[in-house]
Symmetry: D2
Subunit: 359 residues, 4 copies
């Protein structure tokens, strides 16, 4: 070892230690998604996590919802390839809700009016679960791991007790299955963060003016009942009401495409103007100051199979409530410019940036 090297050794060690410390501060998260692709709000929320140096994504668990599991898995794998994050495991999950079904939803519509979006069940875009339509972004070379979503969730929570955020951007089937398979799941998690539910929004719902019939929750109401009644340490909800205050506009796209990376090229090609449903739930987890109004509410879901099946039910925290209701923090307003700024910053980082040390 020459003198120069010698002088550097302690500095290198110091850096390593620091890096380790910083790396240790990365938030561990399991990202549960009904990952429509390419480049939907689902995929983009995954990419925000993948790009963030502040997050350690333990895995992405796929659940049926916007699309079927096989195609969602393929789109997720491909997006991670483009983002240079093939190190993140992709895990297949539940292919259908617990109780709700395409057949039941059609009988419901015949009585209570048609729904304008039903995810994988939407008639005008329907194909069987095992068919993967041609992928315009290219088929993935990588593969999902050989484990099921509920098992993956259980394994990770036991491996890192108290450290893992369970983040959900789709129907809650995988998480409900994990809870019923292992009742320790909620207590082992650090917290639950989710996009879902709706309160008093006249847009954003799947039956037009009715924001309280929100897709993620409607698709598997019984799963919501299980998950929202479980003893989590903390629940944070991004509902329709805040989603509709955002818009992934052409201006934001323009800012992203100023930087040229495989990821920005992918977004330029496939991303479309839309409410930023799931992206808010990522951003607010990474930087809670993005949220400017939130309320503590008891929140759950109607599982009577009548006209209100799948609608959010709720009341405020001062109401006397039986024990099975759990309070949640529900986001109602945000600092939109700050949010857009974070979105642009993450999407324009060099791909693989998420692998690096935490900020």
């Amino acid at each position: 070892m020459n003198p120069i090297a010698r002088r550097w050794v302690p500095a290198f060690l110091l850096l390593s230690v620091l890096a380790g410390a910083i790396f240790a501060q990365k938030q561990k998260v399991i990202v549960d998604q009904d990952a429509r692709g390419p480049a939907s709000t689902d995929t983009q929320s995954i990419l925000m996590f993948a790009q963030s140096p502040d997050v350690e994504v333990l895995g992405i668990t796929i659940v049926a919802g916007d699309q079927w599991v096989p195609e969602e898995t393929a789109h997720t794998l491909r997006a991670l390839e483009i983002a240079g994050r093939t190190d993140i495991p992709v895990v297949r999950g539940a292919e259908s809700p617990l109780v709700n079904s395409k057949e039941e939803s059609e009988a419901w519509e015949a009585q209570f009016g048609a729904l304008n979006f039903k995810g994988a069940w939407t008639l005008r875009t329907y194909h069987p679960p095992d068919v993967i339509p041609e992928m315009p972004e290219g088929a993935p070379a990588t593969k999902a791991i050989d484990e099921r979503a509920d098992d993956f969730i259980i394994r990770m929570l036991h491996k890192y007790p108290g450290e893992v955020t369970v983040w959900a951007g789709g129907p809650l089937t995988n998480i409900a299955l994990a809870i019923r398979k292992d009742p320790q799941v909620p207590a082992l998690a650090k917290q639950l963060v989710l996009m879902g539910s709706g309160f008093n929004s006249a847009i954003g719902g799947i039956q037009r003016m009715n924001g309280r019939r929100e897709f993620n929750w409607w698709f598997d109401p019984e799963a919501v009942r299980i998950v929202m009644s479980a003893p989590w340490k903390k629940i944070t909800i991004t509902p329709v009401d805040i989603s509709v205050k955002t818009r992934l506009s052409d201006e934001i796209q323009a800012q992203i495409t100023k930087v040229d990376t495989p990821l920005t090229r992918y977004l330029k090609q496939f991303s479309r103007p839309s409410f930023m449903w799931d992206e808010i739930a990522v951003a607010a987890m990474l930087d809670p100051t993005i949220i400017t109004d939130q309320k503590e509410l008891y929140v759950n879901i109607d599982i009577e199979h009548g006209p209100s099946y799948g609608q959010t039910i709720f009341f405020d925290k001062d109401t006397k409530a039986p024990a099975w209701w759990k309070p949640a923090t529900v986001q109602f307003d945000l600092d939109a410019p700050k949010f857009y700024q974070m979105y642009v910053r993450l999407m324009t980082l060099p791909t693989s940036a998420g692998k690096g040390p935490a900020h």
Copy 2:
């Protein structure tokens, strides 16, 4: 006949004819109310009708809701005495909802959270149905007529087929009973106008943030199902969503009390700042230009006895709907100054003005 008389005869005849013509143009209305008194939104809406020269009030039918029928009847009779309109019949109606009950509502609250208002069932102000607490405005000298509300409604609609507006400011029990007793009721009416229901308002409901649980409709959900599924020629709805855009403020009260009549003295003494729930439904009937935003919606109510019992259900008119759904015109915004102006004008007219010829 002396010469002077002779000269007057044609003039008198002319006036009679004119008066008849004008009188014939008065809108005939049955006012169905859960008439809390003194001087609530219920009573004030009655007084607007009583004061309006453009309306012929065939009768006021009383229904349990905000209070019990005996006290509501007494407050209504007294208000009409003060307004000099003892010519308007007051008619007692249903003393309880069809199916809903105080007992059921308490079992419901034990599961789904307490309600902040339950009308006559509210525990902190509860008294038995047949007790009339002391009336600060004085007890009435007049009496209700010896007929029941549903019979009165049926009789009037047959007497004036196609001419009568059924206007409802309370639970719909009386009207539902009338329909089930005589299926011709809806077709015989000119239209149904009502205050009730809620859509996407975060205030104004009886479970705080949930405007979709509106008192009038919640109190007797099965009656709403009956009434809203019946073949009316036209339905107009004033929901919570528009009510909460108004306020009976001290400034408005001050304008009223500038004029001194028995009625303005009554209002000065008993009226309190509040949303103007029912007054909008009167004003918009008298002058539809007060409404600046309205939508054609299919509207009904959830009668499953679960967490959404008594909540408004709805979808927009472009949705394919089974035949039992009826489209209604739902008011969402108003020209508030114009509305306040009408309210002040009617309340400051000389009492008995409503008896005179129509404008």
Copy 3:
């Protein structure tokens, strides 16, 4: 007064007093029926009452159910003409259930399986409510009185407080309307006796093996909820379970037709072998010893609009129950020969026998 007359006076007075005493002992009954005709279980139960010297039938109130009100009214009038009892008022009542409807029942069947009988709504025999198909027994010359069933029930109960049995052989719509119009109805009645509901019978229901879906109660479930939750002094129920233990056989018909009266000729021509649903409820009221097994149960109905809509719900009297449940005496077995004997005896009495003094 001559000596002979003098001798007869006391005897005449005695007879008068006796007759009065006997007449006073006649049970007053309002017979509420969905009176399918000619000669169904509905009509036969009416005729049993009409023929019985022990009953004073205050009136027969008609309700939609097995058929529509206009045709049921016509068949009832005609049957009373044949039985020489045109002194009994026939009163038209509710033309449809409170909430249930043909449309809702069809949506239900599409989800939960077809029903084998739906009364007036049965597709294979359907005609509009105001059509009266040709009457094989001849059209009546008499007319229904000009009053509605609920008003008639209310008027009679106030006229004879505590004396009147309300006997119901059809859907409970009329009685529910009467209760909601005048809450004193249940307390003013002597008792409620009804044919309806089902418990554990594998025959007799309207969905084949499911006796718990009994027609009368299914047709208007919300009316049952109202009636069965009201404060009657006593409720006696003849359910499907006991009805299916009887049969109006050819042998019984043969016994009846041995006697020749207008009534036996009518029965010979139109009566058909069948369970004796409603006849038991009459017989057991006239002679309770016909019943050999009965239980005290809490009985009500499911009004959730799901798969169990309209099914009987119940539990035994030792179960701790909330106040809205009312105990009822439910008949489960009978002395069938004694019952048939009473049926034959009443039907073979001279017509107009019911007008005479009580036994």
Copy 4:
């Protein structure tokens, strides 16, 4: 090899081949049970399988129901030790139903009447899930395998596609979880055989006279909905209606204890007179001729959370039905002596007999 040995070789080979052939004919079964112990209907049905030479028990999967999973597991392990069948894997499963809960059941009882049995939730015998009360039959030395019930079911069905009978004697939570985790489960199984549901029995239910509220199905209604709506090749149901036609009497016990084995001693000490709920479902699978009356019915469960939550719903096979209903073979009567004979025979076989070649 000496001449004698040589002569025996072919015979031995032949026997081996025959034994293999016979062994191959053993029915493969997964036994899913809420295994209350010691010596309940749950345990006895397990022991019938364990003793039968005609069955290859792949494993016993435990589900919460009559008791909690830890104590049920311990009782099952101990019973298998006593029967000399520690070769059969015992697998822990779901510790609670999907949606139903002790709290919800208590709110239900407050409205609809107390239930006389609620398994692990029964108040008078309640203890926390992780407590195992002292075991009078002795604690087991063996252990459950390190796999969860749903995974075990999935693994076995893939290992022996088309060969395995899924036999369920408790709530259907484990099987529902397996189906939702792997949608191939129903199609991979040979058949589903279960004890559960009730039709028109006035005894045997958990609310006394109401046999349609059967414990296994009531405990997890949503699991029943999932399992009974899945595409099994064949479903056979042993309902309450047939169970109550049997009785494990002292006479039968006496026949068993005539033979002295560790198993008969265990039964003598712990078995109690009872309906033979689950034993019938085993016997009828081993010898279908035991059943003398069975019907093809569409069978499912009410999952509205009202008064009929958890009750069996059904209609006969000739009824037009939507696709989500599945026909099942439902047993209604049996050759009881033949059944008792089989029970006695199996229980008095030498322990470990089940390991031997099939008959």
